[in-house]
């Protein structure tokens, strides 16, 4: 049975790759490409599910040892890195999320991309993306993880820049890649350090020995956890890049320039979760260092809150969702930082489902509204696209954390962990902020639903229509999913908690299942419902022109402007980093290199030329001056010999 597993695991990755290759070389027709891509992804899901079941059939302790090495990747003396995969409970659930949600997005895309100029290319990217993400979660060592990590970065770059004729797409794609690279810098540094400390990059070698890091000192940071902290901190940089946390979060909202289903795939369900996955995967290192873990928590919670506040001020339907993603990722990162790893993964899974739903819903809206994205130009779309509306409402409820939707369970577990405490202690302030953020979430989602679906259509220049079945069916499936997926870790049973236990056992990081707190549940749900009610009151059923200002500007003033302009983060980055960078580049290129470094080189040559011309003046052409120089030479030579005899 294990052998079957060994063949299935590579197949999970290879299938979407084959899909990509077929589409790349053999297919010219968009719809056919979509079908092939979807088939590949679905097949990968089926294989993944089979593998999952097989894994579940294994005894508890063996579940973390399904490790298959395809070939030796890097074989450079002491540096040995296999091209190998590890299929353990953690990667198994990730595989299911990626291929499952991914398949639905593929299917949805067939309809959505029907009128695109380059659908084949799009599906190639999509399949590649899934493959890269699968490599990321299935890798059995950090370097291969890094391959997937950068691979999804590349695919997101391609997908965001898919419609490269549009300026924002071009810029956003590059911004995404570069910001991710900055994060990758940290991760790579962490990987280098891990290799230096352990002489290997395999999880199977590092995690059981992770404890050795405690007590190792480095000269510039004192304290027994210095090395572990440094490594974890570098990883955290990577996490902030990929999972769009402060300070590297600004690429994600811009990344909405890609096709909407791609946003669903990349920026909601899969790619951005890899940061969280990394922390959970590397929990063995993070639990050693309370300081970095706490930093992680603060970054997460700050991101959650700030992104939520920004989401309130956005008019673009996708941008709201984008900031909501950033905010939800903040929840997950905070949870991972606290050591509530199961909670983080739990929220990751539920969020993956309902955020995909919301994005696809938004895609359906945009598709039906003929590429309109500004919510002020929408309104009343409920009647035109009922299926989209109802599924969207389900997603909203899930995101807002309304009982009994998935988001309720997972978010509650994170908030609960903050108050109840973890191995690093309790986080009451963090918990409070998270609750407030959850309320804000309910607010802006209700605002969105109100603006898009309720009331009357404000801009009647287009005729909205419902999307075709190939797009709505995935929406229904996901809507059902957002209800069901919450059950996988429902209090009392804690399926996910138990399923992941073998993973955390290695580093003795298994936590106690969190007791369910009714008080907390009631408070959060009540706050969310209250916020939703206010939003409904403010936004639903109003008569506005299509260019109205948000009524909140009246009450919040500059704060709302801050929301609207994303707290000016991009402008600050532009002024602090981009412009000095460009100015320095220009200085180096125009002045320092040609006049400084090259100036020395040319100057030396010029000096010789000058010497030559100077000499020509001496060569006067007068024989008498030649004889004079001769005589001077005689004097010098005789002078030397005179000097030599005296000495």
């Amino acid at each position: 049975m294990e052998e079957l597993l060994f063949t299935l695991i590579p197949a999970i990755i290879v299938l979407p790759l084959i899909g990509a290759l077929i589409n790349m070389f053999a297919i010219r027709d968009g719809r056919r490409a979509g079908l092939i891509a979807s088939a590949a992804c679905v097949a990968s899901f089926v294989v993944g599910l089979t593998a999952f079941i097989l894994l579940a059939g294994l005894p508890h302790e063996e579940r973390t040892h399904v490790d298959v090495t395809l070939w030796q990747w890097i074989d450079a003396g002491p540096l040995q890195v296999p091209f190998g995969f590890l299929f353990d409970p953690l990667s198994a659930v990730m595989v299911l999320l990626i291929t499952g949600v991914g398949s639905l997005i593929h299917v949805f895309s067939i309809g959505y991309m029907a009128h695109d100029a380059r659908p084949v290319r799009y599906f190639v990217y999509l399949n590649l993306f899934v493959a890269a993400m699968l490599i990321l979660v299935l890798a059995n060592n950090y370097l291969l993880l890094f391959l997937g990590w950068e691979g999804v970065g590349l695919c997101s770059y391609l997908l965001i820049g898919h419609s490269f004729e549009r300026k924002e797409a071009r810029y956003a794609s590059m911004k995404a890649f570069v910001m991710n690279r900055i994060g990758d810098f940290g991760l790579m540094l962490a990987i280098l350090a891990l290799f230096q400390r352990f002489g290997s990059l395999n999880y199977g070698v590092i995690f059981p020995r992770a404890g050795e890091l405690v007590g190792q000192q480095i000269d510039w940071v004192l304290g027994p956890t210095a090395v572990a902290s440094a490594i974890a901190f570098c990883m955290l940089i990577g996490v902030t890049g990929k999972s769009a946390q402060i300070p590297l979060w600004t690429w994600l909202p811009d990344a909405m320039a890609g096709p909407t289903p791609a946003s669903a795939l990349i920026h909601a369900a899969t790619m951005v979760t890899s940061g969280v996955y990394l922390i959970v995967r590397s929990h063995a290192i993070f639990i050693l260092t309370p300081s970095v873990s706490n930093t992680t928590v603060y970054i997460g919670v700050a991101t959650a809150f700030i992104a939520a506040s920004i989401a309130i001020g956005q008019y673009d339907i996708k941008r709201v969702l984008a900031f909501s993603t950033v905010s939800q990722l903040g929840f997950m990162v905070a949870a991972a930082g606290m050591g509530a790893y199961t909670a983080a993964i739990f929220h990751l899974l539920t969020h993956g489902v309902f955020k995909a739903l919301l994005f696809l819903g938004a895609g359906s809206v945009i598709h039906g509204a003929h590429d309109v994205q500004d919510m002020r130009r929408m309104g009343g779309l409920r009647t035109a696209m009922p299926a989209t509306f109802w599924t969207y409402l389900a997603g909203t409820a899930a995101l807002a954390g309304i009982f009994p939707m998935a988001g309720f369970w997972s978010k509650d577990e994170i908030v609960g962990s903050a108050f109840h405490g973890t191995r690093f202690g309790t986080y009451p302030v963090v918990g409070t902020i998270l609750i407030i953020t959850a309320a804000l979430t309910a607010f802006y989602m209700t605002r969105q639903v109100s603006l898009v679906f309720l009331g009357r259509q404000r801009d009647t220049s287009y005729h909205a229509h419902e999307s075709e079945g190939i797009m709505t069916i995935p929406l229904w499936i996901l809507a059902a999913g957002s209800l069901i997926v919450g059950l996988i870790n429902i209090p009392g049973f804690y399926f996910l908690e138990h399923w992941l236990e073998p993973v955390f056992e290695v580093a003795h990081a298994v936590g106690e299942p969190l007791p369910f707190s009714f008080t907390l549940a009631i408070i959060t749900v009540a706050l969310a419902l209250g916020a939703a009610f206010i939003a409904y009151q403010v936004y639903a059923n109003r008569q506005w022109k299509k260019t109205f200002r948000d009524p909140l500007t009246r009450y919040l003033g500059v704060f709302f402007e801050g929301f609207e302009h994303r707290w000016y983060a991009d402008d600050v980055y532009e002024a602090m980093f981009v412009r000095p960078f460009k100015a320095t580049a220009s200085f180096l290129s125009r002045i320092f290199d040609p006049m400084g470094i090259d100036g020395l080189v040319n100057g030396a040559a010029r000096l010789v030329g000058l010497g030559g011309r100077g000499y020509r003046v001496l060569q006067t052409g007068y024989i008498r001056s030649y004889t004079l120089v001769f005589l001077m030479g005689v004097v010098a030579v005789l002078g030397y010999f005179g000097f030599a005899t005296v000495r």
Binding site: T620, G621, R624, L631
Partner: protein, 100 residues
């Protein structure tokens, strides 16, 4: 007997006069004469040394020097005549079309 040093001093003096002549005179003929003076001062020294060492090597050399000087002057005068024909001058300072 006059010490050898005296001859050498005299020859050095003559040599210096010759060198000075080459350096200061513009007429090519006078320059030639100055060069002759230099050569002959060497001859004087040679003869003096020859007497000091009491063999004839130096004197033999002196004869060669005289011969050489004569040959040189022959070629030199021929050249000078040629130059005088084309340029109507024997001033060495005017012979400087090539420089630099």
């Amino acid at each position: 007997m006059v010490p050898t040093e005296y001859y050498v001093m005299l020859s050095a003096l003559l040599f210096t006069i010759g060198v000075t002549g080459v350096l200061t005179r513009r007429n090519a003929l006078v320059v030639f004469m100055s060069v002759e003076l230099m050569l002959n001062s060497a001859n004087l020294a040679l003869v003096a040394f020859s007497r000091r060492w009491n063999h004839v090597d130096g004197q033999i050399l002196t004869f060669f020097v005289i011969t050489v000087a004569a040959a040189e002057v022959a070629v030199g005068l021929a050249l000078l005549v040629g130059i005088f024909r084309t340029r109507r001058t024997t001033n060495v300072d005017e012979v400087n079309t090539m420089r630099g």
